[in-house]
Amino acid sequence: MTLRRAQDDGAQRRRWVVAAAGGFVVALLLPRLGVPTFYVSLLTQTWIFAIVAMSLDLLVGFTGLVNFSQAALFGVGAYAVAIAATRFHLTAFAPVMALGIVSAMLTAAIFGLVALRSEGVGFIIITIALNEIVWGLAYQWVSVSGGDNGITGIVRPHVGPFDVSANTGYYYVCLAFFAISLLLLLLIVRSPFGLVLKGVRETPRRMRALGYNVWLYRYLALTISGGFAGVAGVLFAWYNQFVGPVALSLDQSTQILIMVILGGIGTLYGQVFGVLVVVFLSNELSAVTQRWEMVLGVVYFAVVMYAPGGLVKLVPQLWRRLLGRRPALATEEP
């Protein structure tokens, strides 16, 4: 019986690897298939936000921490790029990326000291406050952040010998960082450490009784998550070539959380679907109607009502229906 199960796992695993590899190849080819620049640009945005959505999923879906300050971590990465460029003339790719990651991780580490004194709703409220503090700094500390005007004039750096200042080149940079982030995060959640995080998510009380320092694991998860949010922030600053306080607003934090919920909490790769929907719908709809946010709201509502597992669970269902197969009786395990 165990053997049979192992074979099933193996087959399922192969299917996933094939699907992921296929998706990656399509993503690689898209800019070469005559897709308009506008859409290449939206897809670039998708990869960037998928990274920050996955970083939040590590907290929400795997550690049980609903963090409303993810945009602050993302924004610290973005501002690090802008401030390094405008104040210190630091623009080289690797050092700036490292700076962005370290700043975001440090911010997350400080957030952790404050927010993790509490859990559940208390944690949520404190992270909202922390996000507002960082937003306030960006908005009012004009001499450093440029205030409401933000910081302009950020230039995309060369990546090694490659000039990625054009949209297509930059698309590949973001795709690469997305792929690396996804692989690293998948590795983390499937490691013994990842199992500990899931244990903390499920039943912190029992984890303590087993001898785990629950606080420490939450703290580590938050700091790691901050690092990935920082990566996304850095990429975002180069993408927009501008950083303003909107990037780290509470609205932004909420939107990242919505992306996670839409995509499928606790799946990581599902975030791509959530981000795709948010990025494309908000761009396409805002061109058609001023009430695009209402339409988005209806979409969120529909997904939460009819596909509570997220879009990622919906895709295989639709696929089966298309092939005329009956849906599997057993519900999928997360």
Partner: protein, 250 residues
């Protein structure tokens, strides 16, 4: 070799606001002893467990575990030093498989709990150990099931298995057979009796059959005070205890 008792509670008191739940509770448990704590509902038994395990701060008194004052030591550090407990209401990891539940208990003291970039598949030995534990209580076939999907009796067994997997020096059992059908209860009792080799146990239980079957010493709590303490046979005939359990209620 060591004559240091396993657990010493010295005049432990706990108040919730103006409500006094435990008053000057002093209990000494020697290594290898199996002690039952009985008493009517609200006697403070579970509170006492939460204090011993480090989940609740106490108002007054000291707790010594294996010769060290652990009064201000966190729950997870006490667990690391060899204190394990089960919960009155089943406290498993519902959305993890039974194997994963046990692996969490088994790897709790190992450095691999910090291994971030190594897939769990590399630690097959851990999974095998977990499977062996399950086989021992006849739950091998349920290894891959989600803990949530287990039957109530099975959950209670896994609840105890998690604590045993920690290889504790002191095991606190909070009503291990509560709500179980007699056949399932005897499965649990058998599990406990099989743990020879000097495992020190403290057991809260309402089922006197289980108590008399497993423990060799009884402490009776009543309104937060120890009213009787001694060998099972003595307590059985104690007039105060009979009063509390029979006369007092009527």
């Amino acid at each position: 070799m060591t004559t240091e008792p396993c657990l010493v509670l010295d005049r432990v008191s706990k108040r919730f606001g103006s409500l006094s739940v435990l008053e000057d509770v002093s209990i000494t448990i020697r290594s290898g002893e199996r002690c039952g704590i009985i008493g009517p509902n609200g006697a403070g038994k579970s509170t006492l467990f939460n204090i011993i395990a480090g989940e609740l701060p106490l108002t007054r008194g000291t707790v010594r575990f294996l010769g060290h004052d652990v009064t201000r030591v966190s729950a997870h550090t006490r667990a690391r030093r060899g204190l394990a407990r089960t919960f009155q209401t089943t406290t498993l990891f519902p959305r993890l498989t039974v194997i994963e539940n046990l692996v969490l208990a088994l790897q709790a003291h190992s450095a691999e709990r910090f291994a971030m970039f190594v897939p769990r598949r590399r630690y097959r030995a851990r999974d095998e150990a977990a499977r062996a534990l399950l086989e021992r209580v006849g739950l091998g076939a349920r290894a891959e099931a989600l803990a949530d999907a287990l039957g109530y009796g099975e959950k209670r067994q896994v609840e105890i298995l998690l604590a045993l997997a920690q290889r504790p020096k002191l095991l606190l059992l909070d009503e291990p057979t509560a709500g179980l059908a007699p056949s399932d209860a005897s499965l649990v009792t058998e599990m406990l009796k099989r743990e020879h080799g000097g495992l020190t146990m403290v057991l809260i239980e309402h089922d006197m059959g289980v108590v008399f079957d497993v423990v060799d010493r009884l402490t009776v709590l009543h309104y937060g005070r120890v009213v009787a303490d001694g060998p099972v046979e003595t307590i059985r005939g104690d007039a105060t205890v009979q009063e509390i359990y029979l006369g007092g209620a009527l």
